[in-house]
Structures are given as C-alpha cells and as structure tokens.
Symmetry: C2
Subunit: 532 residues, 2 copies
C-alpha cells in the first residue's frame, strides 16, 4: 500500500540487501549516505511522474497540508484551485503580532497590542530536527530557522504544594534526581544485590559509569561538593581574582524530590519529539505559511466557507459561501478533491463519502488547547534570573511559562508564552472564560513564579482553540481504539475524495503530520489518475 | 578582601538577613529580584567611585581582561595605555576567516581559505548563561548572540573498538543507559533490597518516578516499544497517511553500553559549564573583542612585544619592541600596571615582583589545545544525517567533531570543527606535526564518522596553541596543589603591579574568568589608589 514500495525497493530493503552482501561496515556507510540511521516518514522530494491528462483538483483548506498538495499537484501538471476559510494562508500555522485581530466563537474580538517585532505563535511553535518534510520545505522556500530551546537548565519547576511554593531550578532537580538514583544503584551493586541482573565482569564498569554519570564521589555518594556542583550549579559560582573559589550548594534530598513530583517534568526534556536540535522560524511560525503562499497564493480563494461536498463518478462539487457576502451559495467543481478541513468541522458538513469514511470522520475528538501571550516592559527573566528561552513548568492552571527563543540578551520589551494548556478539564475551564479573564489569570498565576509580573506586565492576548472558528479545537486527539477501527478508512481515496491534514497522520498536532499526510494522499491520488 | 564586602553588605549577607527576618517566601522573592538563586562571580557593573587623582595605568595585553581593565579604568578617570603583541585586539578571543593568516612558532604561515561567511573560533567558542560578566559586556557593547548547541541528541558517539567501529546516535546511548539504570533500580526496589535506603512511603513514588524517567513499561522493563521509542527515537518514524505507524528499534543492551565506555561522554552534556542556554556571538567569537576595541582601540599600541617589566616606589617602566622594527627597545611608564600577559610568556620575562609572586608566575603549566577547521562543499551532516549543530565525540585522536551552530538548514558550503584536542600526549603529538599534516589527519580520522569527508572536503586550517606565539598554550592548567600554594599570591597587588586574565581566576580557559579577574584586580587597585 505504501507510496514507494510498489515501484522500487524501499530504502529499508536496500539496506537489508547491502547488509547481507557487504557486511555491517558497508551498511553503515550506506545508511549514512542514504541519510538514515532511523527511517523518516519523509521519503525525500515527491516524484509525481506520469501525465495527469488535464485532471483538476480542488483543495479545501490552505493550511500546510493543503498548500503542500497544491504546490506539488500544480507542479505535476494538474489544474488546482484552493478554497480557504480565513483571509490569510496557513491555518493553524499562525502568528499574532501587534495590530492583528481575530474573532472567536461567541463574537469577542481581540486585537494584539504587542510592540513591533514581538509575537505569539498560537498554534505550532517548534520543529523537531527529525521532521524532515517541514525542514525540506523550509529549505526549498527559504524560511530561515533558529533554535527552539525546550530544556533550559536554569528555568523553573514549580509545585504549588512543594518546597513551600518556591520554584526550583530545573538543573537542580535534574542533577539531584540522577545523582540519588546513581548512588542508590551503586550501593546495591556494591552490596552484591544485582548479581542476578548484572554479569560479574560488568559490575565494575557499571560502578564507574554511575560515578561519572551521577557525579558521585569516591565513596559513590552524591553530596554537596565540587563534583555535584559541576552538574547542579554552585551556591556561589567560581569567579576571578581573590575570594573566587566556588561554594557548592546542598543537594535536594531524594525524598523531597519524590514528594514534589517534579521528576514528572523531566520527561519533557527527554522526549524524542522535543530533543535537540529543535527549530523555530525566525520572526514567527507563519513565515512557513507565508512562504508556501508565495508559491501557491494565486490559487487560493480566501474567505471561502465550505458548506457541502458532493461527488459522483465524474467529479466533485463543493458548495461554498464568501464569508463577507454569505447570502449567495457558490460552487466549485473539479475531477478530484483533497480535503484538509479539520474533522471537528468536516463532521458537521454534508459530505458524500462512504459509510466507513463518514464514521472515521465522526470518530476523532479534538484536543482543547489554550495559549496566552503576555507582553512585559522588560525581559526580566533574562535580566534578573538568567533564564534565556526554554520553558518553566508548574502545576498551576497555566502549566507552562515559555520564554522567547530569540532576541537574547537584548534590552527592551519581551513577550512570554504565559500559559499553555492542552487537554483536560483545566483547558476547557480556561476556554470557557472570556479572553480578558484568561489573560488576567495567566498574569495572576504567573506572578507566583515571577513576582516581576506585578510591575512589568503591559498587555496580553489569549487563543482558546475550541473557540477558534476554523478548527474548533487544537488537533485530532487519536487514541488506540479509534485508531485501530477508523484510521485506515480515513486515509482511503473515497471515490474522488481524499483527506489530508495532521488528523490523517501518526503525528497529530504536528505540522510534519499535515505535510506527510498530504504527500501520501497526493501520491496515491496521482497513481490512480495516471493508471486510469 | 572582597571588592564589595568592605563597603556594602554583599548580596549573600542581605539575603541571609531577609531570610532571618521575613522567612523563606520573602527570601525567594528577594532572591528573584536580586537575580539569584545562585550567586554569580559577577557582582554587577563595577563602580569605581572616588578620585584617581590623575593616576596612570599601563595595561599589558589587549585580550578581554586587558580591554575590560582599560575600559573601566578610563571611565573612572585614569590615564590608560595598552600594549598588545598582536596586530589585532582580542588575544585568544579570535576568529579565522577567509584571507586571514598567521605564523606559528617554527615559522609556518597558514592562510585561511574559507568561503566568505564561514569561520573557525580557534580559542573560546561558547558562553554559558551563567557567565554574567561576559553577557553584561555583550549587552553593553551590542554583541548579538545566538545559541551554542552542546548536546545534539542526533549527533554521534564513536568508539574505534565499540560496535564494530560504527558510530551510535547520542540519543540512543543516552536513553538506553537511563532506561537500563531505571529498570535495575526499579527491580531491586520491588524486591525490597532498598528497604534500608528508601523510606517505605517513598518506595511507590520512586517506582513511579523511575517508570516515567526511564521510559519503563507496566512491568518496569525497558524494552523495544513505543515508550522507549518516544525517548530513543524509532527505527521507522511515525508518518502521515497509510503505512505510517512508528516502528520501535531494539534498545542497546546495558552490557554493550558499559563495554563501549560511551557513557563517559554523557557527562559532557550534564556539566553546568555546558548546560542550556549557551551562546556564541553571531558571526564569530571575535565580535566581542572587536566590540571592546570600538571602545578602547584608541588606547592600544599594537605589535608591541613586552621584554621587561620594572617597578619602584614611584611607578612602573615597561620595555617593549615594535615587532615590525624590533631593533629599538622602547619604554612605557605609568603609575600602575595591570598585566594580563599569559604566565607561559610572563614567566620568561624579567619582571620586578616579589619572590612569592614570581614563584606563582612560574608555577602554572599551560594546557595544550589543538583545533582544526575543515571546509566542505556542502553541509552533508545536515542534509544526509540530520545533525544540526552540537558535537560528536570519538576516541580517535581528533576527539570531537563540532557542527556549526548557525546557518541551519541552508544550502552551500560549511565549516566543521574537525578536531578539538585538549590535554594529554595526544594534543602534544598533534601540536608537533606540521599544520598541513594536522589537517590531513583530521580529514582521515573524521571520515570514520562521516564517509562523506572523502568527497566533500575542500580546505582546512589548524591552530595548535602551544605554537601560538602570543600564548604558548591554551590556558592556565591549575591543579589543586599549586592552587593552594600559589593562587592567592598570584592575585595580590605586588607593589604597583597586579595581574589579570583567565589564569588569575577559578574559571581558567573561560572568557568569564578573564573579565572577572580584571574587575577584581582593578577594584582592589582603585581602592589602593583612592585610599593613598
């Protein structure tokens, strides 16, 4: 079924062959040359060889999935048109800057008051290095990237009932937990309690490794000394000249860390999805959407709200209205349709598809998500606290405070992500509040981590995705059971309609999922076209 | 003795007072407001109040220590002059670009052939977020910063006798070691073997924490599954559309990791010195030196080689020669001298200082260090291998390959740090080779990690610090015994002479040490001047 495996050996097949014939060293070279070790979901620039014979495609939605499809289909010789609900390209690929305004469900309009150059990405905000498709298009379309900092060792972990409400530095919790774990395991290794699990010849190596990895002293203890200071930081940092020797701080006891539950956050810094090197586009995430629109903008009809999707043996007819003159219903026709409308909205439209696909469209709930951007008079997190980018985590309803990963060490105003809520009743509760109240709460809660909020706050803006008219939610919330039952049906070419978007992927909520699903959909669609 | 404690309560004293009077919550707020948790060696912008009464200072060396001293002393009202051996400011704060050339000991001249925009920092190349003095001057002098990536999860670990010589991805060694350690500790916890060390009420929490932190499954095992894939990456990454489910890879056995000794490198990613968020100046490290020179360049006499330093009750006389016309010896005189000449060179000059200071000057050996920059036709590490910045480590003589932390995802040529050797016979052996041979070896060894070297290499340049005439070594290599015996003597104001530089600090080899030592030295010097 896969797009490339039918016509040519896959890279995996090729590697297996090379491994068999030439041994592992040659295979490694081949893997390197082929751009592996692990196999990406992205197979390299798509090749749509063969004549589309004048076929036309109507693409619904000018987000990254829709614009990818439009870009590649036109290049392959199709006649393409694109309908987009918003007055701008990108969809959830979206950046809010001073002067931008938008209306959420319920009719409240917010206007962003950020100073020029500052912004909030309400939707996607980071690009993992292994999202090869996004990176390919960024390169092809000249979108400049800069690092996104997920783990800042000097950012904060905060538990409202831990350590008397005092935030802790990530580096201390991280180093101390690892140190204590290493000490415990070293002790039982020395006591012979691991004899069943660890071979005798490995025991000494394990002790050496734990000592190095856990910053243990010669007694295999994790203690206040220069060794632990070298990983957790010092109470007094080393300096220059006289009186400059470093002074180590006292590690936090294991029991305190366990009870604080702050170990829970350490996982956020280990996940493959968030590993270095991550990226963000310089100037805002919508630089990607804008770059796509430079290529396919001439194909896009903006302010077009789809109201119905019909198909028969000969083609597809989509009814739509211009949202600025909504009384007249218009029609667009094409031989084929690539539909990237979020399932949260598509499930509410009359759509001519098979029962299994309709069931799939109806089966996927959408994650709630709320982001609040806050502008401050100065970058106090850098100036006062040496926090440059990255994320602080808290159990307060705001969940996260993320610091800008750009403009480091400069004077002037700055914008924080003052709240980022996904999933759960907490996100729904925030969504239910009027925007001004969301912002006010973000300021109030955030001041528990950064008292400077009280004097430095200037203005804010809050996007609650369940009230955003063009998605009614943040992203497709797949779980195992609906995935097993419906995912494959959702991916099929149903007559003359095929779906694409992050919801038609195994990487929901990520732009990579949107692009890969579009490439997979148009690859299969194209073969159907050229083979009939 | 400390610069601020005599006149005003230190921040530490203030905090202790607040803690005593107002309790820990108030203390946290105060700490935040004061820019702590940990106390930096940098005390904020230096205040040299009081009249220097027309005193003059001769500063030797226009590296960061010397230029910091010159900048602040002139601002405080001193008459300052600065003698510098090189024809440029910065000293070890140095960047090589296409067209630059330099002559090393032995007379060999190398000319850099890098394409415009590419560079090598032969000396310092990274700035930790807690190096507050460097960051202060970067901000004050408008030096733009961008992140330096120390840990790139997708970079390589390579052992010539491990895994058949095949490099491993850092993320796999890192995640697998942590997973196995967690599994082992979870097992003994469940078996009751930790009952002495861990309180009963903490046991369940410890198990939960290990499960989360170590990516263990419901049986507390670390295995090939989606959980381990989420931290180590997948054999096949999740994709979009059909046939897009992720496929986990098999974790590397603990015994294999232990025997590979690759755990040794994990420490490089945990050290406080290398923790996120690190920085590099945009465009090259010498942007800092050039920024200082914009302020104090008018005070600098370049090409000035100091040959003798004399002092008496009334002042200091320094003999020097112009390196372009070395036959005539010239003299510079001043009331005071701040000498930042590296000890490796100063110890060879006749200097009028006390016996204890002379002994200190002679006591500190200098670390060997070699860096090799290599230009390639294309950024194959990004294009083929998804390695964006960061460092690969190997047990080969080159030790490290570091990828550029700028210009990510762009087409065209790139420069790698193809070798970075510090300390040990290996560095001396490389130093003893002619530069072209150092470069050739870096290419030959590097090809074991990146076979693309063989076709993509274009040109290279090699700096071996023991053959660099202005330092004769990389940095002061303090160890405990000489530190205990000599460090305090080295810091003293000896008559009218005081030393500064990274060698007069607890942070040797770091620019922060150079600047902090200069601030400490001129602070004490100034008090002596205003109090006499």
């Amino acid at each position: 079924m896969h797009s490339e495996s039918a016509s040519a050996p896959s890279r995996r097949d090729l590697l297996a062959l090379i491994g068999t014939v030439a041994g592992s060293a040659a295979m490694y070279e081949a893997m390197t040359a082929l751009g592996l070790a692990s196999e990406s979901g992205y197979k390299g620039p798509i090749k749509l060889d063969g004549d589309p014979k004048g076929a036309s495609v109507l693409v619904l939605g000018a987000g990254l999935a829709g614009m990818t499809a439009a870009l590649e289909l036109r290049k392959a010789g199709y006649t393409v048109q694109l309908l987009e609900f918003n007055s701008r390209p990108g969809g959830r690929n979206w950046t809010l800057r001073g002067g931008d305004s938008f209306v959420e469900l319920g009719g409240i309009r917010q206007t962003c008051e950020f100073e020029q150059g500052l912004y909030l990405n309400p939707g996607p905000w980071r690009i993992p290095y292994h999202h090869r498709a996004v990176l390919h298009y960024c390169r092809q379309l000249n979108v400049a990237l800069e690092p996104f900092n997920q783990l800042n060792h000097n950012a904060l972990l905060h538990g409202s009932r831990a350590f008397g409400g005092r935030p802790q530095r990530i580096r201390e919790i991280k180093a101390d937990f690892q140190g204590h774990v290493s000490e415990l395991l070293a002790k039982v290794t020395q006591q012979g309690k691991l004899d069943e699990a660890v071979a005798k010849e490995d025991k000494e190596l394990l002790l050496q490794a734990l000592k190095s990895w856990g910053a243990l002293d010669r007694d295999f203890a994790y203690r206040a000394n220069l060794l632990s200071g070298d990983v957790r930081g010092f109470a007094k940092e080393p300096g220059g000249g006289l009186d400059a020797a470093p002074v180590p701080g006292e590690p936090i006891a294991l029991s305190e860390i366990l009870k604080s539950r702050m170990w829970f956050y350490l996982r956020n810094f280990a996940l493959h999805e968030f590993q270095t090197t991550m990226f963000q586009p310089v100037g805002g995430m919508d630089m990607i959407g804008k770059a796509f629109a430079r290529e396919v903008g001439d194909l896009i009809r903006y302010d077009a709200k789809v109201t119905r999707i019909q198909q028969n043996d000969r083609g597809v007819t989509v009814s739509w209205v211009d949202t600025k003159t909504p009384d007249a219903t218009l029609e667009a026709v094409a031989d084929w349709c690539v539909c990237t409308i979020p399932l949260s909205i598509l499930s509410q439209l009359p759509v001519d598809v098979s029962a299994p696909m309709k069931a799939a469209i109806d089966a996927v709930p959408y994650m709630p998500g709320v982001k609040v951007g806050l502008q401050f008079k100065r970058r106090f997190w850098e100036e006062d606290e040496a926090i440059y980018g990255g994320i602080s985590y808290t159990d307060l309803p705001i969940r996260q405070i993320a610091y800008p990963n750009t403009g480091y060490n400069q004077s002037g105003r700055g914008v924080l992500l003052g709240a980022y809520l996904t999933g759960g009743p907490n996100a729904f509760e925030f969504t239910s509040l009027p925007p001004a109240e969301r912002v006010a709460r973000a300021v109030e809660f955030g001041a528990q981590l950064h008292p400077q909020y009280r004097t430095e706050y200037e203005n804010g803006i809050a996007v609650a995705w369940h009230r955003v008219p063009f998605t009614l939610g943040c992203a497709g919330a797949w779980t195992d059971a609906p995935r097993a039952q419906h995912y494959s049906n959702l991916c099929q070419i149903d007559g003359r309609i095929v779906l694409a978007g992050e919801h038609v992927s195994w990487i929901p909520a990520w732009q990579e999922g949107a692009i890969l699903s579009a490439l997979d959909a148009i690859g299969r669609l194209h073969r159907r076209v050229v083979n009939t």
